[in-house]
């Protein structure tokens, strides 16, 4: 019986599984015992206790008297926001620079090469320090801010008027939503018509016009129900208005330019992977250059681009944790930094952070896999 490959494999599987279970059990009980011996309390009860510490950037309501649970939520949102905006920006930068490297214009191509080689060869943390301590700190003090209309720019951030919505703003929101629904309908109709009759309709430009026109009309009808809270210089800082703190800006610039350099190479590789014959064939059919790119080259390039692009997105999301070093209050800073230190719950907080980064990465992965499948070659 031992000579049977299937049985042997099964025995080894069982053996391995029991070792894994035993080690896991040992580690867990060992941890429990030691924590008990040392009188270290465990559990997530601290989540309901008041945190008592401030957080610089919070997109949901948060005060010093909020709970640790709320502080966790604030940090979580900060991590999500920086990752999402970073991914969008990095993709835009990457596509532009990647195309620029393939440009026939010598200067543009060389500049793009210099950008890629510089940015991707310097450590990200160093780049964050550079943006935070060298570039943004060189801006003027609040007293001598650069001013443009009601916008202020200084060391403490970018200040803009803060819109305060009055009664009747619902009309504008309704108008906006309505215009979006109308645009979607328009695009669907245009596509159908093109498939049926071959006639082309500029659906995207007309939808943009539609959205702006309807929203603006709603604004006029409801009598501009917005007031602005204008930032004013005060004794120490600028008060009022909305502020984009330098910590956020520095992390965002560093993350998106760094990852953008990698994405540029991926985009370049993807486009180069499409055989030149495809372009020639498209041209011989009489397609314009822009249409050749959009309809022939890009869809084929995307198949090569998407898998490594996913890795870059995952890297960006995880690299956002470096923001802790320059005071951006993301997950590592708030949960593994302050919360861990105030409560001493190392295992809980670190475990929680691992769980969050794990799920964030898996979510991005899942989305990109879905997109990859959608873009893959459909063989008939």
């Amino acid at each position: 019986m031992l000579n049977d490959a299937g049985t042997r494999a099964l025995i080894f599987q069982i053996l391995l599984l029991s070792i894994v279970v035993f080690v896991g059990y040992f580690l867990f009980t060992n941890l429990q015992n030691n924590l008990d011996n040392r009188g270290i309390s465990t559990g997530f009860a601290f989540f309901n206790e008041p945190a008592g510490f401030p957080i610089l950037i919070h997109l949901i309501e948060y005060t010093d008297s909020g709970t640790y649970g709320r502080a966790f939520a604030v940090a979580l949102i900060n991590t999500f926001v920086i990752s999402l905006i970073g991914i969008v920006l990095a993709t835009i930068i990457g596509v532009i620079v990647g195309l620029a490297r393939l440009s026939n214009n010598w200067l543009v191509a060389r500049l793009a090469t210099v950008y890629v080689e510089t940015l991707r060869n310097l450590p990200l943390l160093l780049q964050m320090f550079f943006w935070y301590f060298a570039v943004l700190a060189a801006l003027p003090a609040p007293g001598d801010s650069y001013e443009l209309a009601d916008f202020l720019l200084n060391k403490r951030g970018i200040y803009s008027p803060n819109p305060i919505f009055q009664d009747g703003f619902g009309v504008v929101v309704a108008g906006f939503i309505l215009s979006i629904i109308a645009s979607i309908a328009l695009v669907v109709w245009a596509k159908k018509r093109q498939t049926k009759t071959g006639l082309w309709f500029p659906a995207y430009w007309s939808s943009l016009g539609l959205i702006i026109a309807i929203t603006f009309l709603a604004l006029i009808v409801s009598g501009f129900p917005i007031e602005f809270d204008i930032p004013q210089k005060s004794r120490f800082n600028v008060s009022g208005g909305m502020v984009l703190p330098p910590e956020f800006v520095a992390v965002l610039i560093a993350l998106s330019t760094y990852t953008g350099a990698f994405i540029a190479e991926i985009v370049r590789a993807g486009i180069l992977s499409v055989n030149w014959g495809q372009t020639e064939a498209a041209r011989s059919l009489g397609l314009r250059d822009s249409l050749t790119q959009r309809l022939i080259v890009l869809p084929q390039a995307l198949r090569v681009i998407i898998p490594p692009l996913t890795s870059q997105y995952l890297n960006l999301a995880k690299n956002s944790s470096l923001g802790a070093a320059i005071a951006y209050p993301e997950l590592v800073s708030v949960v593994m930094g302050t919360t861990l230190n105030q409560t001493g719950q190392a295992i809980e907080t670190i475990g929680l952070c691992m769980l969050v980064y794990g799920s964030l990465s898996l979510t991005i992965s899942m989305f990109m896999n879905w997109y990859n499948k959608k873009m893959s070659l459909i063989e008939r």
């Binding site: 040992f26 580690l27 060992n30 270290i40 010093d64 120490f236 800082n237 302050t338 230190n341 001493g344």
Partner: protein, 340 residues
Amino acid sequence: MKSNVGKLLSTAAIAATISTGAAAATLDDVKAKGFVQCGVSQGVPGFSNADSNGDWSGIDVDACRATAAAIFGDAQKVKFTPLSAKERFTALQSGEIDILARNTTWTYTRDASLGLDFTAVNFYDGQGFMVRKDLGVESAKDLDGATVCTEQGTTTELNMADFFRKNKLSYVPVVVQKADEALSAYSSGRCDVFTTDKSGLAAHRSKLADPSAHIILPETISKEPLGPVVRHGDNQWKDIVTWAMFVQVNAEEMGISSKNVEKIKTETIDPEIKRLLGAEGDMGAQLGLPASWAYDIIAKVGNYGEVFERNVGPSTPVGLPRGINNLWTEGGVMYAPPVR
């Protein structure tokens, strides 16, 4: 067999932060390895700071040296582990270090729920604010609307929040992971105010380009008793670290210093001093230490007054007055139980 498996697995258990080996008698472990592993800061002048040769000095460093002197009769048998504020407790809990002497504030939560024990207070501190002179601020109550820089993972964050809330002042917090970067953020003008313990403020101010352009505001917004910390549950070890500190305070009170300890030991007729210096009886044995333990501490490290003057006193760059850290007989609160 079991112990081998245990060792192997506990190495793997580093992932779970706590290993099996470190629970028992720390003194035996320390004697076996031949040195004290001491957790210190990453550089706070006067408290724990490495010079260009990598030699550590400071009040906290001397707390570890005193313990090493008591055990080995040699103050140099110490190895240092620089730790950030947020790493420090985990390092101690996991047995990576034997003593944590890292300007750590003694608080209820830390003592009660972290599996740690505070020993004695080697410096009474309090949190304060540092601002640029040209702002014209004279009191912390004037700081409404200011941006405040501080290091992460300390009691400072909470005290700051409490102070501003209590006084109904608004502020913008900028919490940076490491003290040095918090200080750069302050010196680059990202913040109006830098806050930490007053001793730390004095130390950090000495690192700035133009120290005289910055002032420390008069308010002290918190009590910060700083002292060495050990793991909970090893009472003998806790007693050793505690009494190494008490001996230094008692020595100063009795007028014994590193300079005259040799002479006093041979000449004195005072039974209390004789007991302390091991000329009579064997007090050290009660702690598992040699009879000359207190003598060694005073001879190799000095009394508390010497330690203070050498590291943070008015003649040093940190330049702190003795103030509340004076002996109880001199108007301060330094008071040690008697050795008998």
